[in-house]
Subunit: 630 residues, 2 copies
């Protein structure tokens, strides 16, 4: 057992990554808080409790880490993303409310504002003396920010902006902190200066006074009861010709002079827009991280119960833990392996994102944005599946509210469709891949050409000769990281290549390019998924090499073979797998499940989630197995 | 539109099947009830409201239909299953509570009891003047009834049974109606007569008096808050040497004389046991039906919203309904097609079950039991996926409680693991298939041999020659019902054959048979699924032929090709598909989605769910599309 503990400790080190100390500190603080007290509260009381928790953490400096030291922070973006993720183990309403306050509202003031906004607001924002909103989404435009319709006209005589909601489609919707606590909102609106449209800009609009009274011209509506996240006060906002001073424009990337001239350091409106909505990228990274944490809670509870719960007289010995059953292993162990792989990729994404923050506008920026979008999609779907499978593996016990699956699932479900609907995000990834593909052929350097040709040649070779003998079981090393990588790269490149050809054919036939993409939507999503899964594999492989922990290599093999098994039809169809290889992959997944089964508990202990955050009676004290049925 | 209405009407006729008039009557009654009033109730108030609804329906004769006419019923088992399913469109707590009262408790009294029990209880049971429980499951034995441990010792001197809970594993758990309303329980316990174990029997045990006070010796605990179904008062029961009269034994299949002799019309204890737990079969049929109804609610809401909601500027025209997107079609249309197919199979199952009820013990009984188990598993997983995809397709709107996905999902989730965990049920199917397989070779008649040989020869042919040219796209009629049937039959027979060989090899090597089955668990589940999907296809094909509605043929093709696409790797691995066939199947699914897309609304109107039961603001009045964003 001490060996297992040591291994679990090593696993946790790997998983905690570069921000291990900070994660430990946040975990300890969270574990000391009383989460159960909110379990039976009314909706409004729960919302107030969540605000109180946010303030408690803010007082400890967890939220304001986001800001520069002169405003009470530490200027550590990687740390704030890690700290955010850690909160997801505790309460998701807390997570989302903190995300709204510090990531979205705070992020807008910090990154879109200038020194006068920072001086005036950041300190109060960091202590939550100024709770605020991020008012971007509109009822008619969830996923397409560029088309929002809220108006911001500059009145040069009064030196004020006039914020106005022209119709119901332009109503701000789903705005966190709006229904109850927000005093100010960063409102995204179409700037109109002297009759000229200057595109989407953000404005700071007071919405409530210090006593909580809604201000004149502002109309606020509660979104009402939700499936979960009842501790977050989502609301709808309408503005009726609300006047705000000229200084309320967050003007780092575009300003309006007193006499009504528009000036921007970024000449292209398109580039300006993407710079301004950069906050969404961090939001997606954070949601992906939160989703991975939720999945780990669910898998920990399910494995601990699977070790304790004995199934009598149904096939194996009289006293067989559920975890000994193959179906149980197949539902939980691949999900655990995938959890490790995705976290490794998430760490890499966070580091790349921090690099881009330091030097924005570089060539890395677009690929980071695409990877954030794709990893958000894959991580949140991984979460939905893990929570569902975890619940089912716990049977009736999993259906009892005390065992936490009810909240884990209801609170997290919206992750799949907010901060960008997963389907829309994967299309965004596909568009980036297609641009890269086009660029590759316009501007092909020597190295790029070799790489392109070699995989292309492999593709041709395979398609000409059909299933190759050398890919049958005897010759393939299924646990070779290189072979797995080749398979994943082959799939990605073939899919993107085929997608590009289909699109070219359609457009040559006269189809509008965007319509052509819509016609190939399933293909585009598959290519995007293939791209993200290839990167996840590469990042985790690098982590495994660095960790020098043999168990982790098995975990990586299971994660990779789970992908190869799930989509084995594709590799069969494209001649990369022979039928025997495809069958061998399935057998190998079973074999890996058998090998990892004795380490199931160690693998979830490596997640390092304190019992005080799991809060599931069926998941406490796995050591005492056999002491009773529950 | 009137054409579409006429088609929707025809579809509904097909779906409503032989009990159309009864379904219409129940639907109309349900649509007239006020469901919204329970939305904000406390748990106890909601439980009482559900009881009141049950009484209201009972007064209208919906529940007591189960019983013979002399006790207020109509003796129409097929009708009661259809009526039960229809209730699932309204409120699932109502559904489950009614299921406990009439299907389980009532079913036990009716089918395991004799005339004196019927005379004494059935009328009060039918009016809900006698709310009761079905106390079978124990904490230590969820899925294995034969191993329950509650004791029932016959005390010959007192002519009483002594009911006793020996330990915590023997505590009755998850018993509906126990925590608040039940006055009597049908308790399943191990009968001990003069020191001889007589196996599991059912006893009627009073648990509360008329004022609701718990009776001496009975201990009742509330299971507490659940993920959903909060309107059902699940509880735990313990018995401390509770004495009940000799007549309290439900003694149709086994009785104890005054002087302590045990007598049974069924000599084999095994056969007696299976006869007595027959009620579980009907429970599974009912849960499968309920799950299909829930899926239809979710899909109706999602399609109506997908028609209304416009997505701007993301690829197609400026004003494109979500339903025009391929990803949206691919998530909803195959699920709709599968819903039609599964309902058709469910009707067939119900009819076969009624036949078996009329003449029990025949050769059909085992196959009906297996099909009920398997269809319950597939239908409930279909439900989980449909509700999840439906929610995601509705984005943030789907996350609002008012749009019903929250309740649909939380209330129904337990269907997957109760009345037999899906994994366990599919293993039961696999065991039946293996017995049939063994019997086939012992006792092969001429017809059977031809059938077996022909598919066997096909298999050999395929495995010897590899992917056959004639199965490539040009030659295969993907929309040929016969070809689809051949593919499904080939898969089932090959899987069962391979499973039997693997098991024989393992047992020949000395592995215990049950352990061998556990080692092949994933294989067994796949074979069971293949078996059920083959029957579903056959039943729906027969329905389509009878219906003479061209649209329904497209629906059937989409349902079949969805299965062939999902598991195409298997057919590729076993030489039944060439890579080109596999690719053609995917293209054909896309083509069918395109063809059925204009009929999406018609297909869900065919589900015939009144707005008053859908109760989702985003799903009302699809005609008024474009009148606003929500």
């Amino acid at each position: 057992m001490s060996d297992a503990n040591a291994t679990a400790g090593r696993l946790q080190q790997v998983l905690d990554g570069p921000h291990a100390a900070l994660r430990a500190e946040v975990r300890e603080r969270l574990a000391g808080m009383d989460w159960a007290k909110a379990d039976d509260m009314t909706r409004d009381a729960y919302r107030d409790q969540v605000l109180a928790w946010c303030r408690e953490l803010a007082a400890a400096g967890v939220g304001s880490r986001s800001f520069p030291p002169e405003y009470g922070g530490v200027d550590d973006p990687g740390g704030r993303i890690a700290a955010f993720q850690t909160q997801a183990h505790a309460d998701l309403s807390l997570l989302v409310k903190n995300g709204v306050q510090f990531g979205l509202f705070g992020g807008a003031v910090h990154r879109l504002g200038t020194k006068r906004h920072h001086d005036r607001y950041l300190r109060d924002l960091g202590t939550l003396d100024l709770p605020g909103c991020f008012a971007m989404s509109e009822s008619g435009h969830g996923s397409d920010v560029r088309s929002i319709r809220t108006q911001a006209r500059y009145d040069v005589a009064a030196q004020e902006f006039v914020l106005h909601t022209p119709d119901e489609d332009a109503r701000k919707d789903w705005i966190g902190n709006a229904a109850r606590h927000g005093r100010m909102a960063a409102v995204f609106a179409q700037l109109d200066v002297a009759g000229e449209a200057r595109g989407v800009h953000a404005f700071l609009v007071p919405i409530r006074d210090e006593d909580g009274n809604v201000l004149p011209g502002v109309e606020i509506e509660d979104c009402g009861d939700k499936m979960g996240l009842q501790g977050v006060d989502n609301g709808r906002l309408r503005f009726h010709a609300v006047r705000i001073p000229r200084e309320a424009l967050l003007d780092r990337f575009g300003t309006v002079t007193e006499d009504g001239r528009y000036e921007s350091p970024i000449s292209s409106p398109g580039a300006r827009f993407f710079t301004m909505i950069g906050a969404l990228v961090e939001g997606r990274i954070c949601i992906a991280g939160g989703a991975l944490a939720v999945a780990r809670n669910a898998l920990t509870i399910a494995v601990r119960w699977g070790e304790r719960r004995r199934q009598f007289g149904t096939g194996l010995d009289m006293d067989t833990p559920l975890m000994d059953y193959l179906t149980h292993q197949r539902r939980l162990l691949p999900a655990i392996a995938t959890s490790y792989a995705l976290q490794s990729a998430h760490d890499h994404l966070t580091a790349s994102y921090v690099d881009v923050l330091t030097s924005p506008g570089g060539p890395e920026q677009r690929s980071v944005e695409a990877f954030a979008a794709g990893l958000k999609a894959l991580s949140t779907w991984h979460m939905v599946k893990s929570v569902q499978d975890g619940r089912e593996c716990c049977g009736g016990k999993g259906y009892l509210r005390e065992n936490r699956f009810a909240a884990l699932r209801a609170d997290s479900d919206v992750f799949v469709t907010f901060e960008g609907d997963n389907t829309v995000l994967l299309q965004l990834v596909a568009k980036t891949l297609l641009s890269d593909y086009a660029a590759q052929f316009e501007d092909l350097d020597a190295v790029g050409m070799v790489r392109t040709l070699s995989t292309r040649q492999l593709g041709r070779l395979l398609s000409e000769s059909g299933p190759l003998g050398r890919f049958t079981r005897g010759d393939v090393e299924l646990r070779s990281t290189d072979w797995q990588a080749t398979a994943l790269r082959f799939r990605e490149e073939r899919m993107v290549d085929a997608l590009a050809r289909r699109l070219r054919r359609l457009t040559q036939e006269g189809t509008d390019p965007l319509r052509a993409l819509a016609l190939c939507q399933d293909h585009a999503l598959a290519a995007a998924t293939a791209h993200i899964e290839r990167i996840v594999h590469e990042r985790f492989a690098a982590t495994v090499v660095a960790a020098e922990l043999p168990l982790l290599k098995d975990v990586a093999d299971l994660a990779a073979l789970t992908v190869l098994e799930r989509d084995r039809a594709w590799w069969l169809e494209h001649g990369f797998f022979s039928p025997d290889t495809a069958k061998a992959v399935q057998k190998e997944v079973n074999a890996l499940c058998g090998e990892l089964r004795p380490h199931a508990l160690t693998l979830v202990e490596g997640f390092g989630i304190p019992d005080a955050l799991l809060r599931a009676p069926i998941a406490t004290a796995p050591q005492r197995s056999g002491a009773g049925s529950d």
